[in-house]
């Protein structure tokens, strides 16, 4: 089976005055996370959409499901863990209950990247089937500066070799289990990115082309940008 894992473990500490986690803020009268879930629900390769949500906001998410997805069997909500990888692990555990096939694929995506396209999802699924694990990236436009002590530059990598990581990140569920279970507690504390975890354990992570519009809504500024991107919506005469 092919699962989508929507990662909504965050509690939005960087969103300025808003006290509600950013994935629940509205764009065009719909929670950002619902825009994300919609895309995976309509994608015909995806069998189930499992949303891993911060346990404190589990009830709130269930109410979103009740309000926006009445009768939609494809959506499952699970309480997430304390960090990103443990939330993915909660989703993985849920996939095992629902399928447990060695061929299962999980496409994980940030709940705060609502501009994801069907094309990105399809290419992630293809790459995960073919290569085992993949990451969605765009070529870096700013020069990336690397500093180990926050004071001086340690390195400036060649720009043509640098990319900005987005999501989805996708992989075979079985591979994730192998990798996750071999991580030590110390490793888990430092490694917050799923693809980094795969690399640490010697797996090659394939690149999938993202899109500059696939922005992550992290700061109030991003939220503003997202709203501007959706401005001037005309009423579609075909849907009224």
């Amino acid at each position: 089976m092919i699962f989508a894992g929507v990662l909504a473990g965050g509690i939005g500490s960087r969103m300025g005055n808003y006290t509600i986690p950013k994935q629940f803020l509205l764009i065009n009268d719909r929670p950002i996370i619902a825009h994300v879930i919609d895309k995976f629900i309509v994608h015909n390769y995806i069998d189930y959409v499992i949303t891993g949500v911060n346990p404190d906001w589990y009830r709130y998410m269930l109410d979103i499901k009740e309000k926006y997805y009445k009768g939609v069997d494809k959506l499952v909500i699970v309480p997430g863990g304390s960090d990103r990888n443990s939330t993915i692990n909660s989703i993985v555990e849920q996939t095992k209950k629902m399928s447990g096939s060695p061929d299962d694929i999980l496409v994980t995506h940030d709940a705060v990247r609502p501009f994801i396209t069907l094309k990105m999802i399809s290419e992630n699924i293809d790459a995960a089937i073919k290569y085992g694990v993949c990451d969605t990236v765009i070529p870096a436009t700013d020069t990336i500066v690397y500093s180990e002590n926050k004071e001086y530059i340690t390195d400036i990598p060649l720009r043509s070799n640098t990319y900005q990581g987005q999501t989805p990140q996708s992989f075979k569920v079985k591979l994730f289990e192998e990798v996750y279970s071999s991580m030590t507690d110390d490793e888990l504390k430092i490694v917050t990115d799923a693809c980094k975890m795969f690399m640490l354990k010697g797996h090659k992570v394939h690149l999938v082309e993202g899109n500059v519009s696939n922005i992550k809504i992290t700061y109030p500024y991003d939220y503003k940008i997202a709203q501007i991107m959706m401005e001037n919506l005309q009423d579609d005469m075909f849907t009224v």
Binding site: N28, V36, V42, G71, L233, F238, T239
Partner: protein
């Protein structure tokens, strides 16, 4: 959900926009356009051949009104996810006295509403016609175009007198080809003569009974009825030849679009008692009949395949520009494999 749209903002310039495609409600289904076909009308927008005022009024607008796609989500369960459907570009207006496609309040895509250059569409069930998955998507993409031919031939059947032994079709483009194919299927005993300019394109009409270039047309009455599929600057000359070569009380089916006013020899129209009938768009029944022809008439389907002059993978805006440039010189239809 937030979905991409590709809109023409001014001639030659396409930009991405976002649209909110709503999932809720049971009145609509969600469809992903998969193969799109370029029509001359789209080209007139893209290359800026419409009046400045019209462009000013209608742009930005997503182009393309010929497409087939895949059902992604149907809350009513009538269609399964993955079902193939032809997409209808019009919403009929309310006054049922008139045919649905001619009502003044009808809305047509890539004309007064956004066309199919979109990631996903939310549309009504009445705006899709399902088709068998083994049929070639490239051909299905221009079902709308075929349905216009079906509509024209059906109208012709209702209005023209019943002596239909010999029909002349003017034009050597996609429209003339479709008209000839539909006539061949629906009026198999009628003799068809094609009159065109381009000998290379005319070779594709080998199933017709007679092929002439315009300068080979003799000025004598031989046709019971004629179809004008020329349009543009050639419309007037074509109609002149039709008037000259029609037998009394014949029908001229006017199908070619012209931006210019076309002078017509009304004296001879009156003298011969001719009927001039314009047809351009089609309705749901025409779509269903077009799909049925493709599904059940092997010769018709076989001929439709020759209309696909180029199929272009669309991954970016540059690819869209390439497709329009290709359409300028292609013999017939250019199909876009929509993968954006």
């Amino acid at each position: 959900m937030i979905c991409l749209q590709y809109k023409l903002v001014k001639p030659f310039v396409i930009e991405t926009f976002f649209n909110d495609v709503k999932l809720e409600g049971t009145s609509h289904l969600i469809v992903r356009p998969e193969k799109l076909s370029i029509c001359k009308a789209d080209m007139r927008y893209y290359f800026g051949m419409r009046d400045a005022e019209v462009l000013q009024q209608r742009l930005p607008m997503a182009l393309i009104h010929e497409a087939c796609g895949r059902v992604m989500y149907d809350p009513t369960g009538k269609y399964k996810s993955g079902d193939k459907v032809v997409l209808l570009p019009n919403i009929p207006g309310e006054d049922e006295f008139y045919d649905e496609n001619y009502r003044l309040d009808s809305v047509f895509r890539s004309s007064r509403a956004d066309g199919f250059m979109q990631e996903l569409l939310r549309i009504r069930h009445a705006q899709v016609v399902p088709y068998r998955p083994d049929l070639p998507d490239e051909v299905m993409s221009f079902t709308e175009f075929i349905s216009v031919g079906v509509h024209a031939v059906n109208s012709f059947g209702k209005i023209s007198h019943e002596r239909r032994e010999h029909i002349g079709v003017w034009g050597d483009g996609s429209l003339a080809y479709v008209i000839c194919c539909v006539l061949k299927s629906l009026y198999p005993d009628t003799k068809i003569t094609v009159i065109g300019l381009n000998p290379g394109k005319l070779q594709y009409f080998n199933f017709a009974d007679e092929i002439l270039t315009v300068n080979q047309v003799e000025k004598k009455a031989k046709f019971d009825h004629t179809f004008e599929c020329v349009g543009g600057a050639g419309s007037g000359a074509a109609v002149d030849q039709m008037i000259d070569t029609l037998k009394p009380q014949g029908t001229i089916m006017l199908l070619g679009v012209s931006e210019e006013h076309v002078p017509i020899n009304t004296r001879m129209v009156l003298e011969k008692g001719l009927t001039l009938l314009g047809r351009s768009r089609s309705g749901r029944e025409d779509f269903e009949q077009a799909v049925s022809l493709i599904e059940n008439d092997e010769a018709f389907l076989g001929r439709m395949k020759y209309l696909v002059s180029a199929a272009i993978d669309i991954e970016s805006i540059n690819d869209i520009s390439k497709a329009f440039e290709t359409a300028k010189t292609a013999d017939f239809k250019v199909v876009l494999s929509w993968n954006t």
